[in-house]
Amino acid sequence: MPVVSINGLKKRFQDQEVIKGLDFQLTEGKCVALLGANGAGKTTTLKMLSGLMKPDSGTIVFEGAEKGDFRSLIGYLPQYPVFYDWMTGREFLEYTGKLAGLSNKEAKGRAQELLELVGIADAKNRRIGKYSGGMKQRLGIAQAIIHRPKLVMLDEPVSALDPFGRREVLELMEKLKKETTILFSTHILNDAEEVCDEILFLHNGKLVEAGTMSQLKDKHQQAKIDLVFKENTSRYSEELSVLYPVTSIKINGEKASLFVEDVEGAKKLFLTEITSRNLPLIKFEISRTSLEDVFMKVVQK
């Protein structure tokens, strides 16, 4: 069941179109990464989904939203969260909880529960002004889920953290995954792979890839054979590629990469040909492209 359906979402700032028509759905219970380089439109997309920004055209339909106000269904952590520095962590959580409709008692209980979950219970009576960056990030996650929203959106939740803090937040997200739907943006593929089931790949305001991790891997993790010859690498490689259905061939200086569907078949054929013609082979390597390659390929386009 989709939690939210997005159709034809567009947004422009002055004369620059930042989001050029997005269509996607988020399924309940999934953890989805919104992946893209800086400036791809991730933050803008999340701001529109949170209601802070209004799209120029297109629709955002949340399952079960009353009169178009879907704010009770979502939790949102901005990229650079700012709090009331004069409040304590506990006060802030109770405040946001009550604003989201919890009773005094519920808000108190839920605040305490979350302070422990995110690991800042020791600092609950300290002013937020004295919190470190990592503590603020965790407080930010706690306020985003205080009212048990259907969808939690986190904008670059780990980018600004040191490796230690980043690990903690990623582990926290693992826990959250079991309770709710998560959409989080990142420019780091590793983070996306680590916690997420699905990826939405955003580039220049458009969705260039979308799907589950395994779908994307199947689609993009092509087998390739790297060949290096002592001389005439490109000529020999092209001659070889005629023998067997090669999806594409890429020559990069002294190295040729041949992308194939069936590695085993290609391997046999190529090796026989090379030995029978006694070609001056230096290197023969079988490998797979990673999502990283796909990511880089799209980004560098």
Binding site: V82, Y84, D85, G129, K130
Partner: protein, 66 residues
């Protein structure tokens, strides 16, 4: 100094006390607060030496509110 005799101190005292409270509260806050807009020592001078207006200027312009 005979002019001072004409002044009823019971009437003037509250004003002096209020100014003093403002100054003390401002200094107390200045010491405890993490950051101010502008260097702290300048605000200390402003609070202590600009009569009446000093503490008020500090509260309005010196405190970072968020």
């Amino acid at each position: 100094m005979e002019i001072l005799e004409g002044i009823n101190w019971a009437i003037l005292a509250p004003i002096v006390i209020i100014q003093l409270i403002l100054m003390v509260v401002a200094i107390f806050d200045l010491v405890r607060i993490e950051k101010t807009d502008g260097p702290k020592w300048v605000w200390a001078l402003v609070i202590l030496f600009i009569n009446l207006l000093g503490p008020i200027m500090y509260f309005i312009f010196g405190r970072r509110s968020y």
